[in-house]
């Protein structure tokens, strides 16, 4: 999206937007999802929307189940880590579930 859009294309997008609005409003009504907010805490190290560009693993292709399992293993120490044990212990089971739901919902599996 870095190039200039010709105006005609703009109109097509405007039409698409007109269609998209009701869907989005319906979702808007579902509140600014707490799952999104809590998952956004992970982005600093694991990448925007879980897509990592650095040496740290991304999370965008993880299922909720896999994420919950991994966090529990970090917490208990079953899976060794430098920092994840300290971090995993800070979140409740509900919050970890919510993070899992967020990454699972991403449309790139």
């Amino acid at each position: 999206m870095r190039t200039h859009q010709p105006f005609r294309f703009g109109l097509i997008l405007a039409a698409a937007l007109a269609v998209a609005v009701p869907t989005v409003s319906a979702e808007a009504a579902s509140k600014v999802a707490r799952a999104d907010l809590i998952a956004s805490n992970c982005f600093n190290c694991h990448g925007f929307e879980g897509e990592s560009i650095g040496v740290i693993d991304g999370l965008h292709d993880m299922s909720a189940k896999a994420l919950v399992k991994k966090m529990n293993e970090f917490r208990s120490g079953a899976k060794p880590s430098t920092i994840m044990k300290r971090i995993a212990k800070g979140y409740t089971a509900d919050e970890i579930q919510a993070m899992g739901r967020y990454f699972e919902s991403l449309d790139n599996k």
């Binding site: 999206m1 937007l17 979702e27 808007a28 600014v32 040496v55 800070g90």
Partner: protein, 424 residues
């Protein structure tokens, strides 16, 4: 397609539309307006994430500079292991990919009653919610003989960019056997472990290129962040190179004599070949101009929304705000901005903001391959942000090279992904 996918798609579409300003809004009257002051860690995150949570909102980011150079990793520039270019980011993705209007200008006034801001360039911008993340300013008056002009020869390098380049140049020009003086500020200040990471990175450079040189840290405090870990690392990596003098042992610098390249404490004076003064700090100037600060010079906020307790509909983030136990760090500013963005979107939609949980991770490098960290998850209560007990904390003491090498790798991973999260 998942809900998330739908929204993300929409965001891209809305973003593209933002670039085509002649396309009228469809149906529902004017979009609510959010104006953000400052394109640093707090402000740039807030602008991007208001759009992320609420694509229907019209967001304008005002920042005087065309690019932003991060303080994080600027100590690595001093150590000669990173270039300034590699820690400098622009606002092109902000405008073109995320649909934020980017205005290159300085805000000079906030008219709270009229809900508008005025810029140096003569623009007036109206807002429904204003988000302010101006970072810090220096309290030069706390050190005799030091001010913005003297800082052009004796740098603070506590805002990254030309100041960083100047300090690096001076280190390069210094003779072997020289003394580098670093004078860290009293609390509270931006990046509590920063001065000590700086000492480490300068030591890394000196050890390789000027091994007879010394670093003298003249501190305004008696303890500092990650002190045990830094001391452990200095002992193994730079034995005898770094000396730290606490305030209680006459470490506090009271006066600078720029001509004589000397700093004065209560009882002594020290001559430096390179001197780095990091003055005491206060909220960025516009926070004062806009009357958002308290008697201590920082901005009190409601913890669940970062709305000012002084002025309605104005939110303050990052270093300028009082976020209780959260440190003044880039990572903290970033997570606060996400909470604030979600809250602003919720309020504009007539919803109740959700209860936030924030986090912070600060890596510091002792050598390019020796990292240490502190982390916390914070919960909010009436008293503010408190770290979850039994979680978070420092890297353990006594770990081996393997552990610290991993932490150094993750520090680089953190930098890459955080920068992308904000300016990407």
């Amino acid at each position: 397609m998942s809900i998330k996918g739908t929204r993300r798609q929409f965001l891209k579409t809305a973003g593209a539309l933002g670039a085509v300003s002649t396309v009228p809004m469809i149906g529902c009257g004017a979009a609510p307006k959010v104006v953000v002051i400052g394109g640093g860690f707090g402000g740039a995150t807030a602008a991007k994430y208001v759009k992320w949570f609420g694509p229907e909102i019209d967001v304008t980011l005002i920042e005087p500079n065309k690019t932003y150079t991060t303080c994080p990793f600027s100590n690595l520039v001093l150590g000669g292991v990173r270039s300034l270019a590699s820690i400098t980011h622009d606002f092109v993705p902000m405008a073109e990919d995320h649909g934020v209007h980017v205005v290159q200008d300085l805000v000079v006034a906030v008219e709270h009653r009229k809900k508008m801001v005025k810029t140096q360039g003569g623009k007036t911008l109206a807002y429904d919610h204003l988000i302010v993340s101006p970072g810090i300013d220096f309290r030069f008056e706390t050190i005799e003989g030091y001010d913005a002009t003297v800082a052009e020869t004796i740098p603070h390098a506590w805002k990254a960019g030309p100041q960083t380049a100047l300090l690096r140049k001076q280190l390069e020009a210094m003779k072997d056997g020289g003394t580098v003086i670093i004078a860290p500020p009293p609390n509270p200040f931006r990046c509590p472990p920063g001065p000590y990471e700086r000492a480490s990175m300068i030591a890394h450079y000196l050890k390789r290129h000027k091994p007879k040189s010394k670093i003298l840290i003249l501190d305004a405090k008696d303890k500092f962040s990650k002190k045990g870990l830094f001391t452990e690392g200095w002992k193994s990596q730079y034995p005898g190179l770094i000396e730290w003098v606490p305030a209680s042992k006459d470490g506090r610098v009271l006066r600078v004599d720029a001509k004589a390249m000397t700093v004065h404490t209560e009882f002594e004076s020290h001559k430096g070949d390179v001197i780095n003064i990091i003055p005491a700090q206060t909220a960025g100037k516009i926070a004062h101009t806009a009357a958002l600060t308290n008697q201590f010079g920082w901005c009190p906020v409601k913890f669940d929304t970062f709305e000012s307790t002084i002025l309605d509909n104005i939110h303050v983030l990052g270093d300028a705000s009082i976020a209780t136990k959260m440190p003044k760090s880039g990572n903290a500013a970033n997570t606060q901005a996400k909470v604030c963005a979600a809250a602003v979107v919720a309020v504009l939609r007539g919803e109740t903001p959700s209860v936030p949980t924030t986090s912070n991770t600060c890596y510091s490098l002792i050598t390019p391959n020796y990292g240490i960290s502190v982390t916390a998850v914070y919960r909010v209560s009436a008293k503010g942000y408190t770290p979850v007990a039994g979680a978070g904390g420092l890297s353990p003491m006594g770990e081996g090279a393997k552990f610290h090498e991993l932490e150094a790798r993750y520090a680089r991973g953190w930098y890459a992904n955080t920068a992308k999260d904000i300016w990407g």
